[in-house]
Symmetry: none
Subunit: 207 residues, 4 copies
């Protein structure tokens, strides 16, 4: 029984991995279900046992992959000794950018398919146990911060949108300039956005 379960999981996993590879290399439009099952080495009918269609696969992949990226960044952050909120967020963004710069297929895939609504949902309702809850991390960071912040959701929205749209062409096409040249401006803007949402300084026991 457990063996059967394991086998099923393996098959699903294999389909997801194969689909991801094809989506990031050929694009989702040019990837057929035939392509996926052939490469994964399973029968066509099997695909429909696990997924409704390829867009179903895409959604799962985006959730997993973006969650993974964020988790990596969050884990990196933990190892550091950073206190100020701005520094933390910039650190995370920097880590995410670096991961995406290393994996341009993934960047294309996510950029072309990610919408804010979906992102918000994916990141706050983890589909998989191993997926991280971004919202938790974010609000914990805010709690630990020295200041209070107004409209924190708008704040993170602006940051996410600015970052996600800005890095795409810089990483992929070095347009208008390479990602490393964009970073200083980007980080400066992030800091500004955060600062502009800043409220009162919190009164803590330490003060």
């Amino acid at each position: 029984m457990s063996k059967v379960e394991a086998n099923k999981k393996k098959k699903k996993e294999s389909l997801l991995n194969t689909a991801f590879e094809l989506f990031t290399t050929k694009g989702i439009n040019d990837t057929s279900i035939s392509d996926i099952v052939n490469k994964a080495g399973v029968a066509k009918g099997t695909f429909y046992l696990y997924f409704r269609d390829k867009y179903d696969v895409r959604n799962l992949l985006i959730s997993h992959k973006s969650s993974k990226i964020f988790m990596n960044a969050a884990n990196e952050l933990k190892k550091q000794d950073i206190e100020v909120l701005e520094d933390k967020i910039v650190f995370i963004v920097d880590s995410i950018i670096n991961q995406l710069a290393e994996n341009k297929g993934l960047l294309t895939f996510i950029s072309k398919n990610l919408s804010w609504g979906f992102f918000k949902n994916a990141i706050t309702n983890p589909a998989d146990d191993r997926d991280v809850d971004f919202k938790d991390v974010y609000y914990k960071m805010l709690e630990e911060a020295e200041y209070e912040y107004n409209d924190p959701e708008i704040m993170i929205y602006m940051i996410v949108e600015m970052v996600s749209s800005t890095i795409y062409s810089a990483i992929l096409y070095n347009e208008p300039v390479g990602i490393e040249q964009i970073k200083p401006y980007l980080f400066q803007n992030i800091r500004f956005i955060i600062k502009s949402h800043r409220g009162n300084r919190k009164i803590t026991e330490n003060n």
Copy 2:
């Protein structure tokens, strides 16, 4: 001769309009060339007299439509009596946002299909005589400004990307909040971006 020429223009125009309508309602992936020609009332072969494929149509449409929007904004600006660079740009952005809020199909269409590389090309190499040269307008605004500006291309890139990505979900889904609530933050960020690129004050005859 002129009659034939006029007829050709009309036919091409008709195809473009029909394609636009279908692209904005059904999406480009779900729009077939058959759909377009059927709705436009021409034969299938006729499509290929004017366009290479539907992506060719898409590119032309994006160029025309985004140029049109910008032109409207620029014309509005002329009627105002605004002097400061920040104010001018915010005014233009505001006008563009308002136009897109009025035409959500267009917003979807442009957002899903516009890339910076293409935008840059389209807007600086107008395909049509009636299309405006955005670059000209931008650099003229810089010339007239009180200050000099560093890396003006990066500056406009950041603004364009931030605006284009931010307004999408706010206008279409009121997520995370409605566009009117986003605007103050957006404009504030724009002003900050501009300010952070500011160089020396220019020495003019008036000083």
Copy 3:
């Protein structure tokens, strides 16, 4: 399992037969894949499960059909008691001619589509287990012959080309004369070709 396999074979066979019928009546250029599948009573997609395109079908048909013809001739020869090489080859040619005279569609089809390169390949690399290896038979005949022969490949090439080109218009159009009137000349020429390639008489135990 076996039932499925049998069904597949039947379907492929059906497509091949239908294609053959259409190719020989309408010609390959005027036969579309739609024609084939309609007549065979299968779906269009099914065609592509078995063949790459109609030229793939053509090649298979030529291989099978020409192999079949030759096999019939060879089998007939076995029943005879013919010793001399010239007589053997003339017998085979005669048998082939008679078969083609009986089936003019096949003659047209083969003549219009057979090239020496393809023939050589098809006949020496049988695609199907049931297809005969012409080369084997030929070289065995040479071995059993009383004499040795120079350039046997050129010899058979000349014979094949002369026969194949000569009989076409004689059989189909009685031009310049009917096939029966051509035969004496043809056989005479074959004998001459063979004789002109003759080398030494072999030394056998009987001598």
Copy 4:
């Protein structure tokens, strides 16, 4: 008026030449009428003023081109001082082979499209004033010969078929051997064919 006539002729000529170039390089199946008129620089409708379809063009071209080749060979022969019929025919064949070996596109074109019936018609009913009457030349050669010949039409048929089918793969693919290696066998066979049709020696005034 004459100028108009000349212009018409020029246009037709241009279409024929262009079609020939395309037929010999891309093949007749892959050449569309659009291709022809585009390359020839005339309007599509113009094509239909001169030809019924592309097969009409093909037939004209085959007549002209094969007539031209034969005419060249016959003219070469005149310059020689050859008396014996066998030598004359071998000389002509050799000349034709050499011409085709120099122009492989033409060889493919003619081989793929020439049938004996058509050849006979084309060569005995010259379409153009400048086209040569092969039959005349042939029968004149027979008249001048030392012997009488039986079934001269079969004789030339056998020769033409054997030559035309034999040289194709030798010239184009060096299969089974190159054309120069085939020639000795070919010429030997031609001589044999002629000899085998030989009748009585003619009684002439010189004897």
